[in-house]
Structures are given as C-alpha cells and as structure tokens.
Symmetry: C2
Subunit: 318 residues, 2 copies
C-alpha cells in the first residue's frame, strides 16, 4: 500500500468508553491521531446532540457511527457544515445480521428447536428431519449490505442463491460468484416454486409490505424455512402463523416481528417451529468492533485519496 | 473436459431405492451405464453381504458406499478380488457433518438455546449474550475431511482458524486460505489461551482419548463453546458437565457423547447450555446425495485415467 509522505492527522470524538479500538483503526488505516483543531478527519462515536458546533478549517471529513443518519439530518448537522464530507456506517453492521441470519436458517434446516426440547436419544426419530442447505435454493429478498454479506456465507455450504433486488441488475461483490442468480422484485413470483428457503433482508417500504403473505407461503414447501431479519411488516404475520401451524412450511426464524415487540402470549412464542430472537442480531456490544473495522477501511481510503465508503448525500439526508 | 473416444461402461448395483441419483452421477462423470458383465467399473450402493461373489473379467474398479470399510475387509471382499481397485466413500459425508458443526457453533455463540426458551421479548436481557464468530479464534482439532470442509465455511464469517493435525504440516485445500494456522497435536497446549472456541473433529484413538479434559476446559473462556462431532471419548464428559454447570465455559454442542447413546436423565440433557444432537449430523437421507456427488467426481477421474479419490489399501483394509 502506498502512503503519502506527510502524515494524515485524524481526531476521535467524543470521549468513548473503549476508544482504543477506534485508535487502532485509525492507525491501521494509515493515519495518525491528532487533536480536533489540527485534524483533517474526525471519527465521531457519539450522537448528534454532542456534535461540535464549530469544526476547524483543516477538517475535510467526518465519519459518523450510525447506519441510518435521519437524526443527524434532523439536527441540522449537515447544513451547518456544508464543506465537510460526511460518511455513515451503512454496511458496517451487515455482517453481524448476516451471521445471525445464517444461524437461524441452519438451526431451522437442521431441526435444532426440537433437538433442544429432547431429553432422550431418539436418533431414529430425528434422522428424517435433519436437512441440509447443500443443493438447496435460497432466495434472498434484498441485496443490500445484509444480503451481500450473507451470500459468501451460504456459498461454501453448497446452496444455490437467488438474489432479489429492485433493478434485477446482477449482484456483485467480494465472495459473490457468478453462479448467483439475480432477479428483480417484480419477477419474484416466478421463483417461488424453485425456492427451498426464503431470507427477507429488504427495506420496509409501502411496496414491500406483506411481500410474503398467504399466497407466497402456499407456494413454498413443507420443508421450507422463512427467515426475516429486515422488518416485521414485510411478512403477513397472521398468514405466517397459519402456515406454521398447518405445516405448510417447516418453520420461521424471525429477528423482527409485526407487531414489535412481540406481545406476551402471541402464537409465535409458542409454535414449536418458530424461532424468535428479539431484534438482537446486531447487539450494542458488537457494534463498536464492527464500526472500528469500517473506520479502518475508510481511513485507508481517505489516506489514499480514494472514494469513501457510505458517503452521505447531505442534501437528501441518507 | 477431454474424453476418450470409446465409451466407459459402468454398472450400478445392487437394486437401490433411488438409483436415479447414482445413474445421473455416472453419466455426469462422463461414463455410460451398463450391465455388470460388460462393465469396467461398478458403483456399489449395498452392503458386503449382497456383494457379488464373481466379478467379470472386464471389471477394473469398484466404488463402495461407506467411508469406513472394516466390514468389507472382515467379509474378505478385498482378498477375493485381488485385481480390482476399490475406493471408499471417505470424505463424501464430511460436508454434512461440517454444516452441522457450523450450526452448533453459531447457535451457541448467538445464544439460541435461551432464545428458544423465551416466551417474552426481553431484548435488553439478550443483547449482552449475543456473540459473533467475527474476529474470534476457532481451534479445529482434526484436519481430516470434516475439518477441511468446515474451514471454508468459517472463513467468510471472519473467524481466525487454528487447525490441529498430527504432523503440523500446513492444511491446504479448496477454500482454505493461507491465514489458517496449522499446528501439530503436541503443540495444542500452547494455543488454548488464544482459543475462543474449540471444534473436535479428530479420530478416536488411544492418543486422543480425553484430549479435552478438566485442564483444557479450565484454560478456555467463559464465552467459549466446545463442539464435538467426532467421538464422545475425545472429551472427558464429567469434566465437561462440571465446566458447563460452573459457567467456566459458555456451552457445548455435542453430536457425539460418552456414553453413547446418552442415557435418559444424564445431566447433558438438562444443562441449559448443552446442545445435544443424537449423532445425526450425517442422517441416512442425506447420504445418497452426498455419495452421488462423490461418485460423479470419481467417475470423472476414472474416465480421465486420473487417480481416484479415497482408494482403499486392500491389504491394510482402510
């Protein structure tokens, strides 16, 4: 990696509980730590409320710690600093959610919930229910950060992947082989019959509400798992409960629900083939390490004068 | 792929419930199906008891369906047919066991057992317990078929891998990057303190009995998971139960136990941080598909005149 002769001073703020990870990321990226008043860049680990009113003339770039920056937009941070390039942490937390998704899918396919209820060996009872992702087709609705992080995790398991995005333009990225099919959302109806398992990782919009409802669930298989890590509203909960209760599908792994939080006594808490995790696929204590990885990557880009990851369009606010 | 002009006739026997998968594998490998009396090779899907006493002069190669071939050795099949090359299915079933291993490890690290007991949202209670494999060190004891199949599944999750084999010679293979460390079994003591999670996938021998006992478990972390998919005897069960009960380690995922079957009432059935699957990581209904993949690969090698996978040393019987 070529580095310019002059050091690139970057500051970190505000005072964070474990700054060492971010300090290491700055150094790993090839910059040097400095006070804010001499810095060319600022790695910000706090909220918009604590953000400095005045930034030094030397400052060119601010890295924010959140993937969604509505709050910063509302707080007027971007308009107050029109000459600064802001980047978000969009994509930084996708790997943790993708790992959680893989866990939910594998636990379902391998029949883990029933295993955990067992208090007796019963190997012959279990044998027919232990499935595999090898040779199976996983349709991933949404090919943003989570979908693109999940694909390289599924490929070595021998799954065939159908990625679904709005445009239908081929999904590419590190670890995404050419054997991955990409289709557009409006072609989704055509792949249900070829689909073994469905992962939902698309944004919640009016267009994606109840994207998976009674009709779609009816076209899946009794061996199919549905995993939702996006937003609860993408699935019709009543239709899902009915499909789980009737055995129309094998099960559901849900990190998000509708309603959310899922109220006590809801059937999804009690159906034996529903796995519910309370929107904890990206828990707070994993976020700092993920943010630090993102910072290291962006610092290296800044030092090298390359395009930064997750630039914020400060006029549109995302 | 270059193929000789003459077709390569291969037979399949005995009558199997779903021969089409094997027929497809033979054709996919570039050979043609034939009766046994004209065949150059025989794909055998049955046991040694049904194996033909007489084989035609034309026959050069027999593919057996098992990974361990002690029974065929004992039945005298190899000595009865001294001019035939026999191959086993060693390695064919490793992918299913590796997938199961990944499932157990992820389910543990992401705290799935407690999630499955929950009947209430409690997100704040769960947050601190949801871990990740990203940036963690997984020590895989045994770098045979299962270990080598597991490594490419762990790499995209961002885990650092220490592979342990007898020789300490670098583990190589498809999807195994150079960042994987390899150490010899006698160096194992030196890596416990760097290890976050342990996977046991080594053969059961007198040398590996209780390879993981009280001392090793004490050197792991309160966040460590131990996954055993090899043989129960490699772990000291009493020491494991004590470590699980005290919280010295986070949990254990066990597809094999000692004793096996695990008797009713055993503490491993009731400890909340033990996941037991009754040696079902390679269930019968997945074996035919895995065997067919192995057959296709070996047929292609036979047709091309290349070395066959999993040749049996018919004098030693393995």
């Amino acid at each position: 990696m070529s580095r310019p002769e002059a050091p690139v001073p970057l500051a970190i703020g505000p005072t964070v509980p474990a700054p060492t990870l971010l300090e290491k990321a700055v150094v790993e990226g090839g910059a040097t730590l400095s006070d804010l008043d001499q810095a060319r860049g600022l790695i910000w680990a706090g909220g918009p409320g604590e953000f400095p009113d005045k930034l030094p003339e030397s400052l060119e770039w601010v890295q924010l710690p959140a993937a969604g920056v509505e709050e910063w937009f509302t707080a007027g941070i971007f308009t107050r600093h029109p000459n600064i390039r802001f980047t978000s942490a969009a994509g930084a937390f996708a790997a943790s959610v993708a790992e959680h998704t893989l866990m939910l899918l594998l636990a379902g396919v391998r029949y883990l919930p029933e295993h955990l209820r067992a208090v007796s060996w019963r190997q012959q009872d279990f044998f027919p229910h232990v499935g595999t992702l090898r040779g199976k087709t996983v349709t991933i609705i949404g090919a943003g950060g989570i979908g693109r992080a999940l694909i390289p995790m599924l490929v070595p398991l021998g799954a065939h992947i159908i990625a679904v995005n709005r445009s239908g333009r081929r999904v590419t990225g590190p670890g995404i082989p050419e054997t991955v099919e990409t289709i557009s959302t409006d072609q989704l109806g055509k792949v249900w019959s070829r689909t073994d398992h469905v992962v939902i990782a698309a944004p919640a919009t009016p267009a994606t509400e109840h994207l998976v409802g009674a009709e779609e669930l009816a076209r899946l298989k009794p061996s199919s798992w549905v995993v939702n890590v996006a937003r609860g509203s993408l699935v019709d909960t009543d239709a899902l409960v009915a499909a789980l209760a009737s055995g129309a599908i094998a099960g559901a792994g849900l990190d998000v629900t509708d309603p959310e939080p899922l109220p006590d006594g809801h059937p999804l808490w009690h159906l034996p083939n529903a796995i519910v995790t309370p929107h904890d696929s990206n828990p707070p204590q994993l976020r700092l390490a993920a943010f630090a990885d993102h910072v290291a990557a962006n610092v290296a880009r800044f030092v090298a004068g390359r395009d930064l990851l997750a630039p914020i369009d400060t006029e549109r606010g995302y």
